[in-house]
């Protein structure tokens, strides 16, 4: 049996360090685990969509440089739940928190 922690997946391609840090902080404050993986894929929407589908919790985040997107399992690939281009600190934190709130079934911030 493979035992894995149920986590939010973050698939990133050449991610901006500051962006990653704030997104992770957003998830951490909500008390959910996450896993960060570097990917070859450069398509932001695919990164997010794949992350959501691979995550046991059905919630994933894609990062490409300073572009970010949040996805949930069951949603069309081309319609990420939330996405930003060159987000500020607050937006990163919010996107991270929302990916966790999606699992906790809480309304988004």
């Amino acid at each position: 049996m493979i035992i894995k922690k149920p986590s939010i997946f973050i698939y990133a391609n050449e991610p901006d360090a500051a962006v990653v840090k704030e997104i992770c902080a957003g998830i951490e404050e909500e008390g959910v685990f996450f896993e960060l993986n570097e990917m070859e894929n450069t398509n932001l929407k695919e990164l997010a969509w794949n992350a959501a589908n691979d995550s046991m919790l059905g919630s994933g985040i894609g990062i490409r440089g300073t572009y970010i997107a949040m996805q949930m399992r069951g949603i069309e690939k081309n319609r990420p739940v939330e996405s930003y281009q060159n987000p500020d600190k607050e937006q990163c934190r919010k996107l991270g928190a929302n990916s966790a709130r999606a699992i906790k079934k809480l309304p988004f911030k």
Partner: protein, 605 residues
């Protein structure tokens, strides 16, 4: 053959009914329509709505408005309703003595006692004294954790208060775990050097020590006298997930009773009553007073201002002088309104006692003739103002299958609740009572603290549901509904209203059960009270037992739960009560318009 149109201009909608009069005097109903009323009921601007409704109705049968040979307008009841709300108590926190709120993610659990130490002064901390550290949002979670870890060896830090939403982030980085409270907006108001106690509840629980006066006494080492003074603080912290109590000399939580003032009734048996005595007492005095000529409030008090405001609003709308406007009925309802506590540090609110009042104003006869004249000119047809509204409504209600004389109708609109009883001989007794749909909306708005009348009206109209996943919602009655296409993530986890056009999101974070409860209570308080009041006035010998059938008509009779509430209440009096179904097809609407067409036959004979 001639087309006859009956038009009912109401507070919120204009209803049209078109019938064909045969040579033998029988009426054949053809079509009907309803449009929003344009302008205030009884003013010439109503003609736009009338024309729109006529056009809509005639186009349904492929005819033009010109084909109508006679228009019959209602003699609208000269009553207009208005509502007002006044709080009777206010809560004030003095000397920033406490913080009690529900941050979504506090960290740690348990209580801690210590002196408040601002993080910028941490170097001045003295070893051996327990401290609760307060940090503003200008410090990042990493900085705070680093500072606390560094000082943790020399200083005794027992708890942390944060301004930003970062309690878990800080806790995860601390070597020594302590309770942490976050999202305290006015952290700059926290006085340094004051003994304080903080508490974070265990998951799924609410705080236990700080919501108990002896708990506060234990933590802050209070004597019996001081314990007595902190009781209001403890009371106001009941049900919170986190709290801070400060031991400041002048610190307290006080409930002020505002001078509410007296209501004066100029009536058959003139009387006065204090607003403090509550809605039940006020309504008793109103019903004992008999026929009311005017109602006023004690000048320079809340209630005085409230009545002055209603009269001023009415005179602006009506064009009559302020002195000529008389309030002839009121409906008072007790309510609770969440009000921001003055002196609060984290946006805490407290439920304050309030009273909502719907007032009904008798105006001079509404200028229906002017509307008739304008319609005559613009449409080039015969226009007649015919019949009293309640009589017409009764006539229309009688077209409901299964009704017979004697019959009582209850017309529940937006501004007023009207009742009429028609005896077997065709004698009609009518009454108008203050308070209807609009008062319900106001109660919903205040009790939920929405600050938005529009959404309150929608809450009144539509059932609630919670979006539990992207593919299903749970309706308020517990039923689950699955949806093929994924729900817009904006609705995720939210409480929504199920309207015809889809979901309407409720922005405020209020549990679905609470909203449903407030909505039902508001409807019950207004409509059940008013239904009894109105029917008692028109019932033969003022005894409800003399009424056997009640037909509910008007906009509020269309509501998804009000008719059932009334049915339940009336079944105790063995009264058959139900939503009208005008002409067997219109539902509770269109009663007056239908009555107007029907009355044409009677007049001809």
């Amino acid at each position: 053959m001639s087309y006859i149109a009956g038009i009912d201009i109401g507070n919120s909608t204009t209803e049209v009914c078109v019938g064909e009069a045969a040579a033998d005097g029988s009426i054949h109903f053809l079509t009907s329509a309803s449009c929003p009323t344009t302008g205030t009921k009884g003013t010439v601007s109503n003609t736009h709505g009338v024309k729109a409704a006529l056009k809509q109705a005639m186009s349904k049968i492929g005819r033009d408005v010109e084909d109508i040979s006679l228009i019959r307008l209602n003699e609208a009841a000269p009553v207009i309703g208005d509502t007002a709300m006044e709080t009777l108590t206010e809560t004030i926190i003095t000397d920033s003595s406490m913080i009690g709120h529900n941050p979504s993610t506090p960290a740690g659990a348990g209580q801690a006692v210590g002196e408040i130490l601002l993080i910028e002064n941490i170097s001045r901390g003295v070893p051996g004294i327990p401290y609760i550290v307060a940090a503003p949002a200008s410090y990042s979670y990493e900085e705070i954790a680093a500072i606390l870890n560094q000082s943790g060896d020399s200083l005794d830090i027992t708890g942390v208060i944060l301004q930003a939403d970062e309690a878990v982030l800080v806790k995860n980085r601390l070597h020594k775990k302590v309770p942490i409270i976050d999202e305290v907006a006015r952290i700059d108001k926290l006085p340094g050097g004051v003994p304080a106690a903080i508490e974070v509840a265990l998951p799924g629980q609410t705080i236990r020590m700080l919501s108990n006066p002896y708990g506060i006494a234990t933590l802050l080492d209070l004597n019996a006298e001081e314990t007595r003074t902190v009781t209001p603080i403890a009371k106001s912290l009941i049900g919170k997930r986190s709290a801070v109590v400060l031991k400041t000399p002048g610190g307290n939580v006080r409930e002020n009773v505002l001078p509410a003032g007296e209501i004066y009734l100029d009536a058959e048996h003139s009387a006065s009553v204090n607003l403090d005595e509550g809605a039940e007492k006020i309504m008793q005095v109103v019903s004992d007073a008999g026929i009311i000529r005017d109602i006023t409030g004690q000048p320079e008090t809340n209630v005085g201002n409230m009545f002055a405001r209603i009269k001023k609003g009415m005179s602006e709308l009506d064009g009559t002088a302020n002195g000529d406007i008389h309030i002839t009925d009121i409906l008072a309802v007790d309510t609770l309104a969440p009000v921001l506590i003055s002196g609060a540090l984290a946006g805490e609110t407290c439920l304050e006692k309030a009273v909502g009042i719907a007032a009904m104003v008798k105006t001079q006869k509404l200028p229906m003739r002017q509307i008739a004249e304008k319609l005559r000119l613009e449409l080039d047809t015969d226009v007649k103002v015919a019949g009293v509204e309640a009589v017409m409504a009764s006539l229309g209600a009688l077209t409901t299958p299964g009704t017979k004389l004697p019959l009582a109708i209850l017309d529940m609109g937006g501004g007023s609740t009207d009742a009429a009883v028609i005896s077997e001989e065709g004698k009609v007794v009518i009454t108008h009572q203050a308070g209807a749909g609009e008062l319900v909306s106001m109660l919903i708005e205040t009790e939920l603290g929405l600050g938005d009348r529009h959404i309150a009206e929608q809450i009144k109209k539509y059932p609630l549901a919670k979006v539990e996943s992207l593919f299903h919602v749970r309706v308020e009655n517990g039923q689950m509904t699955f949806i093929d296409e994924s729900i817009d993530p904006r609705f995720y986890g939210r409480v929504v209203l199920l309207s015809e056009e889809g979901f309407i999101r409720i922005e405020k974070d209020i549990p679905m059960e609470k909203i449903a409860q407030v909505r039902r209570d508001a409807k019950r308080k207004v409509f059940v009270t008013n239904a009894f009041r109105a029917l008692q006035k028109v019932a033969p010998d003022q005894d409800l037992k003399n009424i056997s059938n009640v037909v509910l008509v008007g906009g509020s009779a269309e509501d998804f739960e009000i008719p059932e509430m009334l049915m339940e209440e009336f079944s105790n009096y063995r009264i058959v009560c139900g939503r009208g179904n005008i002409r067997g097809q219109e539902g509770p609407r269109n009663a007056v318009a239908t009555g107007l067409v029907l009355s044409y036959v009677g007049e001809k004979q």
